[in-house]
Point group: C4
Chain length 188, copies 4
């Protein structure tokens, strides 16, 4: 309930990071067009948090008992996701600055890696405490879930490295990973 | 649950786009009066999101199974609605600027068209996957819902064109469409 | 559910209207002390929305069927309450400005009157459509609820008039009305 | 429900207090690194509100009847927690200012003491009205809960005093207290 709320709020706060153009010297269409990195970053982060919500929800539907470790991992995960509006705004602000685009892209990627590690940590905690889960959760299904989840930080690490050289390509990659997790999930 | 949260937050964030006047040279009443486009845009967007929430809720009450396509359409719809505070603020800021009022009004209208298309896409996905719906949803009722929904993007397209020439009239039209959807819905 | 969300968000957004002092020439304690009108306005508005939430919840616990009119009154009511962070910030910003304090206080009061009228409108709609309510709602209990609610706009009108001459006294009065509604409610 | 919403929103709003660097003269990495007090304050406040949510939830799971006093204490508690993003931002902004760091740290600590006192007030109200609680709540269990809770304001008072001389140490202490409450809770 609380987790759902945090994710719903984090996803909606993303829009607050897009600033209304304070002047429109070359016309408002031009000024609004100049903001395209903000729209792209908004779309990628919205999609990412949305998919994360679906996956988070799917995990916690199987949890019947919350212990101390789970609480910590969940708070760490929520804290990392709720942090995302900040690197999103940094990325939107600096992706067109030749000197700073790679730093902005990598900062965004590091946040994504952190989120991915928290997901993996949470799942591996649950895999070690299967008594917290519904009885139908087999060792095998947990192993597969963990395997799939570990794909996250790895791909994000690749995207972060790509971002060091090609920030735009990295932004596209972040979007692709979100779409992958959406498709992959539903195969189960 | 998550969708309800996103819509509740988007509707409430609208107020953050109205800035406290930083000075009040001609008196505070005058400065507050100058903000009337912000109040009007707030009212229209609040009404619009409110009605959309009712309609979104009515759709999902009939959904018994969420597949991958539905998830995507719903995320796209929520992303478009959660984007609305931004064009609302742009409209409030520029509607009195002779050079930029039509751009601001059309930008708002384009967002509305996008939202309307997402609604139509979601409904037409459900019409093609009636197994996701409660058994009482007949082909006929889905067709009617789709017909009514397709009214949205069409009217918004008209309002957007009107906005190119008469931004104030367009703002009034956006409000009228919201009221239409409120009345029309309840006839069923 | 949606209503609860809107009120929870509106009450929490109040804090965003308090700005971190950008400089602290006479020391940070002094700068933080200078913000006392913000703290007072925060406390009064928080208390007011909190009590309104309790009353709103108590009303809707008795509603079994939502018709078109109820939907409209509820949206109008939520829209007016979600607007409150703005006059709260205006009041905090201008209550110490000799020229503008009365305008700021009256603007706040006008919002409160509007909220009170929406509450009265919603209740009087329900009194005319008792078929929307749980069977235990007698004509007599609705009459009493309406009577008590009509106390709101009247007191707020008095406080608004007081605000024209004594803004600080009006702010205190707004707080007192909230406390009155909290105590009065629970007598039932 | 409403309380959960307020806490979920307060915790997520924390990120809005971190501003995107407006320039990056020495490179964006440097500018992002300079913001470390914001990250630290974010982490400590996020952890604190998260643990408070768990404890608040655990208390209200045992409440079967809400009276007037409980309502007031709960609103006061929520109001104090929802206030936390402000001192968090003040702390992040001023902790590196030699003249103002101790004031910023103590202001943060005073808010924490207030929150702790509200928790203690709420619990002691419940201890005096055990008829509001589920029957399994013994006088002994309430006494222990109260004892543990009173640990909060005392430790926060110590941390506040430490903050007068060593603001960084105080920030670390605030984090430690949150961790203590997380561990301690789960022993029951």
């Amino acid at each position: 309930m609380f987790s759902d709320g945090v994710l719903a709020i984090a996803i909606t706060l993303l829009i607050l990071e897009i600033q209304v153009p304070s002047s429109a010297k070359n016309g408002l269409w031009h000024a609004l067009g100049e903001l395209w990195p903000s729209y792209a970053a908004y779309a990628v982060s919205f999609l990412t948090i949305g998919i994360m919500w679906v996956n988070h929800h799917a995990i916690f539907e199987r949890v019947v008992r919350a212990d101390r470790g789970l609480l910590f991992w969940n708070l760490a995960l929520l804290g990392a996701i709720a942090f995302l509006p900040f690197p999103t705004a940094v990325l939107a602000r600096y992706i067109r600055s030749p000197d700073n685009a790679s730093a902005a892209s990598m900062f965004y990627g590091l946040t994504m890696i952190t989120i991915g590690l928290c997901f993996a940590g949470l799942l591996s905690h649950l895999a070690r405490h299967r008594e917290s889960l519904v009885p139908t959760s087999t060792r095998e299904s947990m192993r597969r879930a963990l395997q799939r989840t570990s794909f996250g930080p790895i791909t994000y690490a690749v995207a972060t490295l790509v971002g060091a050289f090609a920030p735009y390509a990295a932004l596209a990659l972040y979007g692709v990973v979100a779409v992958f997790f959406a498709f992959n999930r539903s195969r189960d």
